[in-house]
C-alpha cells in the first residue's frame, strides 16, 4: 500500500513538472506546432466571439490551449465573482472580466507561477481586473463559499485526483453558485502505458 502510494506520488510529481513544461512551452513559443490546436485557431474553432479575441492581448490569444468554450453557458452577470481554474495565460479570465465588469471580480488559479505573472501582465495591458493565485487545483487557494461561478477549460482532466478537485470546487462555491467547464473525458479506462507516460497524460 505504502509502495503504491509512493509510486503514485512520484508519478504525480513527474506529471506536475511535465504539465508546467508543456503549457509553458505553449505560452513561450505559441508559433510552434503542438499535437493539439491552440491559439486563435482553436478559440475560433470553439466559437469564441471575434470581439473578445480582438480585445484580448495577442499573447493571451496565442497561448490559448483550451478544449472548448466555457463562456457559452456561463451566463456571467455584472458584479459576480468568477474563478478560472487553470487560468494559464489568462484569455478566459480576461473574457470573464469583460462580462462581470468593474463591480465583479475574476480570480485565476494556476499551478505555474510564471503563467500567473503572464496572465496578470495581460490583464494590466488591457486595463481589465484579474488577480491570479498560484496553487494546485487539488487545494484551491481560496476560502470556502467565496465564488459565484467557476469556469475551467481543459484542466481538470490533468489531475490524478479528480474527485478531490471537484470537492474543492464545491467548497469554494457559494450556495447557488454554478460551474461551466469544458474538459476532456474518456469513455474507456486508459491503458497503463498512457497513464504512466507524463507526456501523453499532460496532453
Amino acid at each position: 500500500m505504502t509502495s503504491l502510494t509512493t509510486d503514485q506520488e512520484s508519478l504525480e510529481a513527474v506529471l506536475k513538472d511535465e504539465i508546467i513544461r508543456m503549457y509553458q512551452e505553449v505560452a513561450d513559443q505559441p508559433e510552434s506546432t503542438f499535437h493539439f490546436y491552440h491559439g486563435r485557431e482553436a478559440a475560433e474553432m470553439f466559437g469564441y466571439a471575434a470581439e473578445w479575441l480582438d480585445r484580448a492581448p495577442s499573447g493571451a490569444v496565442a497561448s490559448f490551449a483550451g478544449v472548448g468554450n466555457p463562456h457559452e453557458r456561463s451566463n456571467l452577470r455584472p458584479g459576480e465573482t468568477v474563478l478560472d481554474l487553470g487560468s494559464g495565460a489568462g484569455l478566459d479570465a480576461l473574457i470573464a472580466s469583460l462580462q462581470v465588469g468593474p463591480a465583479g471580480r475574476v480570480i485565476g488559479v494556476d499551478l505555474n507561477p510564471a503563467m500567473c505573472v503572464k496572465a496578470q501582465a495581460h490583464a494590466t495591458t488591457t486595463g481589465t481586473r484579474m488577480e491570479c493565485r498560484q496553487g494546485p487545483m487539488e487545494e484551491i487557494p481560496l476560502p470556502d463559499a467565496s465564488v459565484d461561478v467557476l469556469i475551467s477549460n481543459g484542466v481538470i482532466n490533468l489531475s490524478f485526483r479528480k474527485r478531490r478537485v471537484i470537492q474543492e470546487i464545491f467548497r469554494v462555491l457559494r450556495e447557488g453558485g454554478r460551474i461551466s467547464v469544458t474538459d476532456i473525458v474518456s469513455a474507456k479506462q486508459l491503458s497503463q502505458s498512457i497513464v504512466n507516460d507524463p507526456k501523453l497524460w499532460a496532453s
Binding site: F46, K162, R163, I179, T182, D183, V185, S186, A187, L190
Partner: protein, 50 residues
C-alpha cells in the same frame, strides 16, 4: 466527471459534447477515438441548503 459532480453534491448536472474538437496530430486523434476520448461542456449548480 459527470458522476463525480453528482456524488460531490452538485445538482442540475448537464453535459454536452463540444462539437468540432479534435487533436491536430492524426495519430493522437486516432488513439483518442480508440479510447472514446472527447471534449465535453459541463454545467452544474451548488444547491442552496434549506
Amino acid at each position: 466527471m459527470f458522476r463525480l459532480l453528482e456524488e460531490s453534491g452538485f445538482t442540475r448536472v448537464r453535459s454536452a459534447v463540444v462539437p468540432g474538437f479534435r487533436f491536430r496530430k492524426q495519430s493522437t486523434q486516432d488513439a483518442a477515438e480508440a479510447y472514446g476520448v472527447k471534449a465535453v461542456m459541463m454545467t452544474a449548480l451548488k444547491p442552496r441548503s434549506g
